[in-house]
Assembly symmetry: C2
């Protein structure tokens, strides 16, 4: 289950409302992030058994990013109602196809550098999930990051598998340093592994409104695709917007975390792209037509269409900047302020023009 | 006589070897600088009596910038041999057409904000030049500029007209402050006014090699245009490269300066474009599709072709930058380092690609 509903603005101008981060080729690959995600899990779950949950408006661009996926692999949420509704709905559909299914629910827009370690962790997670446990991968922190939620690991269930003690919100710096030092806290990767029936039971118990909505959809499906489609829309529109963490994970009993060291990054901003990508001796990252004179640690991304006129990009006497160009936009922002691209998007919205 | 031989790189990427500064629409006008120059003098010297001295490779682009000029107004130097050869040759050609001509020799790539004051000064200069004096406009300095040469004014010849005491090279800061305080020093604008015959006499006296070259060309002209063309090429190739300041102005006796306060700028760099152009309350200069968030005193120039895709340019958290885009290049440089675009041009040349 590939989760591809996001349409954030942190990668403006590359990401847009209808061209979200997961369909961009970031992280040094020629493949969109979502295709990297699909390829990464392919050996364990081939495309025929994958589903991609996305928004109605994003189906086309998502299909383009996964051209080897069959059309029925794509689930279009009628309206966005956060991850609990999305994962619940997709779990219910998978359960109909295979009542014994064990599911990996994977965000579509993260990077994982160590794919072998990732596959090892996933195999272990699938095994642990067999008995109805919901399993999450916890990323071993290498810095006191304040931008992520953490999972506190409790007692060991087996080698490399712990009970989840609790989920904790993004900490302040002092807390984050404490977490890092303790060795018991892991970043919440948003990757979950569970039996479809176990998830549906958890929803039944902790989110009864969602459960009855999913049952309505299932009953409607017996009366044909059109009825199912209409009912799905009505159900979704009536649902609350609740995250899977808040709605399910923080409440279920049988919850395990597998600490994983897999070179994970959520690629949160252009700064992360610089951080994770190749750089020259002065820390500058840019392709062939880029000229850096007297400047360090800059990122230059040319994301214009393949047919665009070759363009020299010359930076002289500037450092620590992100410079990103697309066909219709140019962004210049310091790396350390890369999160602030949202301010630009807000300003563009305020002006009433396209974003 | 419009002097349009320059092909500098200070306005890279807008200026290129074959698209020099004078054909760019800078300074807030829709007209190229050279067309602004021609329009500015038009009331005193209509296009039919103007000549434009430029390099052979620049004729086409120069004609495009002055579409209302007749083709025979353009003089193409076979090779560049600096301003003495250029002004000498053009003076000789004008003298053939009109032995009584009084010439204004004007750089084609400067800005003049106060056109009425400029015309007043020019009229005065023409009057003074009638008796064979070579006249230059000296710009009243408003700051201790170290980037220009100065002219020291001597005794008054008439109201607002002084004998030239001497030309001085670009001063250091201390000297420049002294010059500014004295009130006797003016910026060398490179604008000269003289009778054609007076200039030819001065060349005869101070640059005899140039004088004999010009005579060879004149004799060749009697044998037809093709002979003249061939001889001009041979003469130019054999000439030394000498500036009019060094070769003539620093040596002639009858030399006057008219101090002028005309809002002059030589538009030396992108910094000057920012300095002289319109700006918002935070000192940012950019057209409609520019977004400035948390930044001050930036210049954004979009010099792409009129047919190019509209492009948002968003600057967030940066200040005092020049950002210039053309169809095939993008420049980012701090305003105070704007002179260093030459370093980029050097780097591009080093790489062997187009500049």
């Amino acid at each position: 289950m590939i989760l591809a509903g996001g349409s954030g603005t942190r990668f403006w101008p590359a990401s847009r409302a209808l061209r979200p981060k997961q369909v961009l080729a970031l992280g040094g690959s020629e493949l969109p992030l979502i295709a990297q995600t699909a390829r990464r899990i392919e050996a364990l779950c081939p495309a025929e058994r994958a589903v991609v949950a996305t928004g109605r408006a994003l189906v086309e661009v998502t299909q383009q990013a996964l051209p080897w996926f069959a059309p029925d692999a794509f689930l279009a949420e009628p309206v966005a109602r956060n991850t609990a509704a999305c994962i619940g709905w997709a779990s219910s559909l998978i359960h109909r196809r295979d009542p014994e299914a064990v599911i990996a629910a994977l965000p579509s827009d993260h990077l994982i550098a160590d794919e072998a370690a990732f596959r090892g962790a996933v195999e272990q997670a699938f095994a642990v999930a067999e008995d109805g446990t919901i399993v999450t991968l916890g990323i071993k922190p290498d810095r006191p990051e304040t931008g992520y939620g953490y999972i506190e690991a409790g007692s060991a269930l087996s080698r490399g598998v712990h009970k989840v003690q609790r989920f904790v919100e993004k900490p302040d710096r002092a807390k984050a340093e404490e977490y890092l030092a303790s060795g018991r806290y892991f970043w919440n990767s948003g990757m979950f592994f569970f039996r479809a029936d176990a998830m549906l039971r958890a929803i039944q118990k902790h989110m009864p409104a969602l459960a009855s909505g999913l049952e309505r959809i299932e009953r409607a499906a017996e009366r044909g695709a059109e009825t199912e489609r209409r009912e799905t829309k009505q159900v979704f529109e009536a649902l609350e917007s609740v995250s899977i963490d808040y709605g399910i994970m923080e409440r279920v009993e049988k919850l395990a975390v597998i600490p994983a060291d897999i070179g994970w990054s959520d690629l949160g901003s252009w700064h992360s792209v610089w951080e994770l990508g190749g750089k020259d001796a002065r820390g500058n990252a840019g392709k062939a037509l880029t000229v850096f004179v007297d400047g360090d640690r800059n990122l230059v991304e040319d994301l214009r269409s393949p047919g665009a006129t070759p363009r020299v990009v010359a930076l002289c006497g500037v450092s620590d900047l992100c410079v990103v160009q697309t066909d219709d936009a140019l962004l210049i922002i310091p790396r350390e302020r890369a999160q602030d691209v949202r301010k630009i998007v807000e300003e563009l919205k305020r002006r009433g023009g396209p974003v």
